[in-house]
């Protein structure tokens, strides 16, 4: 029986304790302060206290983001490569314990170094105590993102291909840290207007970072649930889409010129537009990043059949891009309604629905390329085809067909014949290719099932 002491004692988390055993040794405990001390002494000799402060920040970035990002990205993928992950999946450790055990355990040694850097920063006195929460939250978000990306991309990969997955997770940690740093720079100069509030930039940044930590942990937790074979549920993803839609809509202001025009749109329109564009973009991202294997999709579609007899699984096990697409359509309907109620360009509704059709086409392209294919090649192939559709083809054909951009991607002043109908045709074509791939994927199964 688990006692209260076990519950509150982090060392009772087997995963965290395992990492402490493997990550810390007497040698490593001594080496970290020794090396950092040498670096700070050198910085002091070269540039005085300013140099030490900068060196501590740089060391913290290297430790928390670059090294910590690698450790977090490999927290699961290294186990898959090492053949221990299936054993972990059968453990009694719950998804939350495994989430924090891995996130803090895999990066425990880097946090040991980060703690030394923070103490040095405070000792020098240039970086204040009130700066630390933002730095720490940035590190947690970066590491959490790396773990999330590592977990998403390891699915369906051969163990030999997982090194690239870890690298991508690490790159995403650096990218997230860079984005947060840019927001810090942009918002710290003034106040941020969000919905009805006008907040100091650093306060808004801290609140946004707090929300990001929650969502990163929620995302990893959802993936852990999935890995541990808890009942599938779409609620985390749906709640995240709602949150991001509301978050993005909060920045919209009335009077902002509508896409590609000088016309000031009503606040409801700009807010719905921001929400719609954000959800549509995330849906496409989800389609690209998902493991689109025909077996999982067939199993999902078989939910209401007598063979499985679990109709509710049609909702619970729906791929992320399906729920995202449904939400995009709902937002498109809401936006269309809002556009009819206010003064808006006549082509705005056409643009909205062409965007939905382009999204359907893009999901079709993604499925055609990566259904049952090698995970890495499939994902990269899908990205390349999308770049060709959105960037290369419009560029190459622009002179020959001046309206080509409108027919290939959402564009201002969209028309029914120039944008909506081509988008519909491409969507139908892309899904015809998906149907072809689907039939091919099922050929082996049909042959055996009917023998």
């Amino acid at each position: 029986m688990t006692t209260l002491a076990d519950t509150v004692n982090p060392l009772s988390n087997p995963e965290f304790r395992r990492y402490l055993w493997t990550e810390f040794s007497t040698h490593r405990l001594i080496a970290m302060p020794l090396l950092l001390g040498l670096a700070f002494l050198g910085a002091n000799a070269a540039a005085g206290p300013d140099g030490v402060d900068q060196a501590a920040k740089a060391a913290m970035f290297v430790l928390a983001v670059i090294w910590g990002g690698r450790q977090a990205a490999g927290a699961v993928t290294d186990e898959v490569v090492g053949g221990t992950w299936d054993s972990q999946r059968m453990n009694a450790v719950g998804p939350w314990s495994l989430t924090w055990g891995k996130l803090l355990g895999a990066t425990a040694y880097t946090w040991y170094g980060v703690a030394i850097c923070l103490l040095v920063m405070l000792g020098v006195g240039i970086t204040g105590l009130d700066d630390l929460p933002s730095l720490i939250l940035t590190a947690v978000i970066a590491q959490g993102s790396a773990l999330f990306v590592g977990m998403v991309l390891q699915r369906g990969q051969r163990p030999s291909a997982l090194l690239g997955t870890v690298t991508l997770g690490q790159v995403s940690a650096i990218g997230v840290a860079a984005i947060l740093a840019s927001r810090d720079y942009a918002w710290s100069l003034g106040s941020v207007h969000w919905w009805l509030w006008s907040l100091p930039g650093d306060t808004f940044l801290l609140a946004s970072q707090g929300a990001a930590v929650v969502w990163v942990l929620a995302g990893v937790h959802a993936l852990m649930r999935d890995e541990l074979r808890y009942r599938p549920q779409p609620w985390t993803w749906l709640a995240f889409l709602v949150f991001v839609a509301v978050y993005a809509a909060g920045f919209a202001e009335s009077g902002v010129p509508f896409v590609g025009t000088d016309m000031g749109a009503a606040k409801e329109v700009t807010r719905l537009t921001a929400a719609f564009v954000t959800v549509t973009g995330l849906t496409l991202w989800a389609a690209v990043m998902s493991l689109n294997d025909s077996v999982t999709l067939r199993r999902w579609l078989a939910a209401p059949t007598p063979e499985r007899d679990r109709p509710i699984s049609l909702l619970l096990e729906a791929p992320a891009w399906v729920t995202g697409l449904a939400m995009s359509v709902l937002l498109a309907m809401g936006l269309t309604g809002a556009l009819t109620a206010v003064s808006a360009p006549p082509w705005a509704s056409t643009l909205t629905w062409s965007m939905v059709l382009f999204l359907i086409r893009d999901i079709g392209v993604v499925l055609t390329v990566n259904l049952d294919s090698d995970r890495r090649r499939g994902t990269l192939g899908a990205i390349i085809y999308l770049v060709a559709l959105y960037v290369l083809l419009p560029l190459v054909l622009q002179e020959a067909i001046p309206t080509i951009a409108m027919a290939l991607r959402p564009t201002a002043e969209a028309t029914i014949t120039g944008s909506l109908i081509p988008a519909l045709g491409q969507a139908v074509g892309a899904w015809a290719l998906v149907a072809w791939r689907w039939r091919r994927a099922g050929q082996g199964l049909s042959a055996m099932a009917t023998s």
Partner: protein, 337 residues
């Protein structure tokens, strides 16, 4: 954990299990039941679906269709509950090389929810059971392949599961360790009532401890039967038995002659020069019936120099079935009892 099920109670029940991989059906409408406290030898050619079946039984992969119940738990509805009562050693397994044997076993026990105060005792028990008690402080990364295999087995059973699934558990072990492993499996079955499903290509080794045989081929069950009387109940004296007769001077028309004898069926004699004849004798498990047959053979002037029950080993049974399936594929949706 004493055995709390009756010996013949079903612990694992599989019905219509179908599992797909992209473009390939790995398991096709598989169905069978495993009695509690039995040791099932899971055999079949490479690619038969053995590992896929084990992963489904361990609730690691959700089946495409069909039902699996382990100790009354549906693996699709309650996979986490199945995890708690199951131990699984895969053929390709990993260990945390930086941990000592004791730390590895502590992690395995704590992660499988063994109460903290019981963990030292479980570590001692598991290490003793696999012969690693004198290596508790040694790092896993420094162990030989055979010792790593033993540690992996110890980790899979340290929480004393009701079901233990082992995929090629003896690969990499020396003959002495294999014998120890067989003894361990028998102890787990008898002392703790653990139900084991063991996959291996070394059939002689499975024969040492298995009570049931499950043959898979191309994703379908082609045979599932008790191996001996220990699990299926002792054969009665009325049961037919295969008898092998060896003659010093093989002669012509032996098959015809033996076929005319009462209670003798299915006489097989490969060639005129072959001194070995196999037949099925009604009530052959009764020694008196066999003695009567031997008397008849002697009265017919046959030079019998060997006469006994035809004790066929697991490999013979396996090859018979696999070859029969290769020669004439049956209605594969059905499982012959």
């Amino acid at each position: 954990m004493p055995l709390d099920s009756t010996p013949d109670a079903t612990l694992i029940h599989v019905d219509g299990l179908t599992q797909d991989y992209p473009g390939h059906r790995a398991l096709d409408r598989v169905g069978f039941s495993v009695p509690a406290g039995s040791i099932t030898a899971l055999v079949g050619p490479n690619g038969a679906g053995k590992t896929t079946l084990m992963r489904c039984l361990a609730a690691l992969d959700p089946p495409f269709a069909g039902r699996i119940r382990v100790d009354g738990l549906d693996v699709s509805d309650s996979p986490r509950a199945v995890h708690r009562i199951t131990g699984f050693l895969q053929d390709i397994f990993g260990l945390y090389d930086g941990l000592s044997v004791r730390q590895g076993l502590w992690h395995a026990a704590a992660a499988r929810a063994v109460p903290t105060r019981e963990i030292p005792g479980r570590i001692a028990w598991a290490a003793e059971a696999v012969g690693l008690a004198d290596r508790l402080t040694q790092k896993a990364g420094t162990l030989s392949r055979g010792l790593r295999q033993r540690l992996a087995i110890a980790q899979a059973m340290v929480h004393q599961p009701r079901v233990l699934l082992l995929d090629e558990p003896a690969s990499g072990l020396d003959p002495e360790s294999r014998a120890d492993l067989a003894a361990l499996f028998r102890r787990l079955r008898h002392d703790l009532g653990v139900t084991l499903v063991v996959s291996s290509h070394i059939l002689a080794e499975l024969e040492d401890y298995s009570t049931h045989l499950l043959i898979l081929r191309e994703g379908r069950v082609i045979r599932h039967q008790p191996i001996d009387s220990s699990s299926s109940g002792a054969p009665t004296t009325d049961t037919a038995a295969r008898v092998v007769v060896r003659l010093a001077t093989p002669g012509p028309d032996l098959t015809t002659l033996l076929g005319t004898l009462p209670d003798v069926h299915h006489v097989s004699h490969d060639s005129l020069d072959d001194p070995t004849i196999r037949l099925k004798l009604a009530g052959g498990h009764d020694p008196a019936r066999r003695a009567a047959l031997l008397r008849v053979l002697m009265e017919h002037g046959l030079d019998v120099y060997a006469f006994d029950l035809d004790r066929r080993n697991l490999q013979d049974v396996y090859l018979d079935h696999v070859r029969a399936e290769t020669a004439a594929p049956p209605d594969l949706g059905k499982v012959r009892p």
